[in-house]
Amino acid sequence: MLKIGVPSKGRLMEQTFEWFGARGVTMRQSGRDREYAGAVDGIDGVELVLLSAGEIPRELAAGRIHLGVTGSDLVRDKLADWDRQVAELAQMGFGHADLIIAVPAAWVDCDTMDDLDAVAAGFRAAHGFRLRIATKYHRLVREFLTEQGVAEYQLVDSQGATEGTVKNQTAEAIADITSTGETLRANDLKILGDSVIHQSQATLFAARQAGWDVEKRATLTRLAGMLGVKAGAI
């Protein structure tokens, strides 16, 4: 069976089901509402695996699922050399969010990454430690800051309520995903203009290391035909 991993709850699951449904592949949760088992109609040889969106990159990298739907931000952050481990088959057009860097709105002197670097130098001189940026996207943020040539910062891990860390003084800035910016404003934060690290959306990925035998390849070709995507990269 060709295993396809799909987010197990919420809007992301519903929109994924709708996306596949519109292309003749019907996905549904089997059994009761809270049971994480699924079924696929409209094509043979495909098995639905419901997973947390955050675990789908890892399962793809390990080859335990052949295809997976998750945010492009999660794949890029969790997998080193992501494009050698997975192939992007389709950008699905929902789940849009930007990974950005935000600082207190009161920092009238700080609008760009160039400013952030200068602020970080001044902050370290004044406080004796490196300016803290709270995030859960460690790889993406670190690579971005390296490329931008920002020095004297540190990343502190924040797995939730990241916007609150500045008010709580456990960080000076944050790097997080935002779609409307409302939560940022509510927490007196503003986005640095040139700090869009990644524009994420729900994406259908294929695992390069999964067991792609003749039968599964044939299933993929049929599925790709229905979905209108190219699967040649696999």
């Binding site: 609008d111 670190r142 008010k167 000076e172």
Partner: protein, 361 residues
């Protein structure tokens, strides 16, 4: 012998040669406190080193190189002058599937000496060159001190010089700063708006409530600095041209020093640098190094872990893998020395590559 045993035998041979040259063998822990290394190298180091967690001591790092522990040991209880050698594994996290090794042996040689830095530079380079003699490696040298001296000599504010010095090792940011300070790029609309607003008084610009640890005073002080910087004249075009020419400097040592002499006519501070360059060239020649053909690249050393601040060198294979590398790191000893410092220079050899080039593995 297994490949590992062959590599270790090669390492022992190099280790013995460094001891024969007068170095005292030293040991270093493999698990190092991560904080010290991160404060020194910056957060970028996390992409290149393994961090692990100790339940009582917090974040620990698997030794990414020997320099920091050796300098710390020297600053705590070293003789003056001193020569050290070490042999052991270093660990490098790799973020790409390109087969680069995650752990390998390094054998190193470090000199802590207050007298004759050029002679010490030449000693380390020549010793390593001798040990690699006959192998298909190409040496290249550089000098981080050139760019630092040129920055220090710029006709501009101390604040701008400090900003450039901070980013000597980050070519992209350095370039962006030079462009801005030279007036090659226009200020952003938001910066112009800020400067306009500041004319009505800086204190009035700061919101009443400031979220987070960075205080209103700090914000105010930086706005004042931005206003002052906007009034500072651009770095003269002629000096920017010298920086550009310096960064592009590439050729054998005698040719490079001639270019330096030429540049010193327009930037007298470079004369002292050229003099040190000559002294090092003489010291290298005295130790039998063929300086006429030895390559110099001013940009070499700008992409390494940032602590070299003088002479730098590397011996690499035809496919650019570094068999040996090293350099001078005077400022590092001051940062780790808690008020004390000593000029230092050193280098490491990777025995696995030496064994490979000998055809032994």
């Amino acid at each position: 012998m297994t490949p590992k045993a062959t590599i270790r035998a090669e390492a022992e041979r190099l280790f013995a040669a460094f001891q024969a040259a007068g170095a005292i063998p030293v040991d270093a822990d493999i698990l190092l406190p991560a904080e010290t290394l991160l404060d020194l190298y910056g957060e970028d180091l996390r992409a290149r080193a393994y961090v692990t967690h100790d339940p009582l001591h917090g974040e620990m790092m698997l030794r990414p190189d020997f320099t920091v522990p050796v300098v710390q040991a020297h600053m705590a209880h070293g003789a003056d002058p001193a020569r050290y050698t070490y042999l052991g594994e270093v660990f490098r996290r790799q973020e790409h599937l390109d087969g680069r090794p995650r752990e390998y042996l390094q054998v190193g040689y470090e000199i802590f000496d207050r007298t004759a830095p050029e002679a010490a530079d030449a000693e380390v380079f020549a010793l390593i060159a001798d040990l690699l003699a006959g192998l298909p490696v190409t040496p290249v040298t550089g000098d981080m001190g050139l760019l630092m001296a040129a920055v220090a000599a710029l006709d501009t504010t101390d604040r701008r010089k400090a900003a450039l010095m901070r980013h000597i090792w980050r070519p992209n940011r350095f370039r962006a700063l030079v462009d801005r300070f030279a007036g090659r790029v226009d200020p952003s609309p938001s910066r112009l708006a800020l400067l306009q607003q500041a004319k009505g008084g800086i204190a009035a610009m700061i919101p009443e409530t400031v979220t987070g640890l960075r205080s209103a005073q700090e914000i105010e002080a930086r706005v004042a600095a931005l206003v002052a910087d906007a009034d500072a004249p651009p770095i003269p075009a002629q000096q920017v041209a010298i920086l550009d020419r310096l960064l592009a400097l590439n050729g054998p040592l005698p040719q490079a020093v001639q270019v330096l002499d030429d540049m010193a006519k327009n930037m007298p501070a470079l004369a002292a640098v050229a003099q040190r360059f000559r002294a090092r060239m003489a010291a290298l020649a005295k130790r039998g190094v063929a300086v006429e053909t030895l390559g110099f690249e001013a940009a070499h050393g700008r992409n390494t872990l940032e602590y070299y601040d003088g002479f730098v060198f590397e011996f690499h294979t035809a496919d650019q893998r570094p068999v040996a590398s090293g350099g001078r790191y005077d400022a590092l000893t001051a940062r780790l020395g808690q008020g004390r410092s000593i000029p230092a220079v050193g280098g490491v050899i990777r025995p696995a590559l030496v064994a490979e080039l000998r055809g032994a593995v």
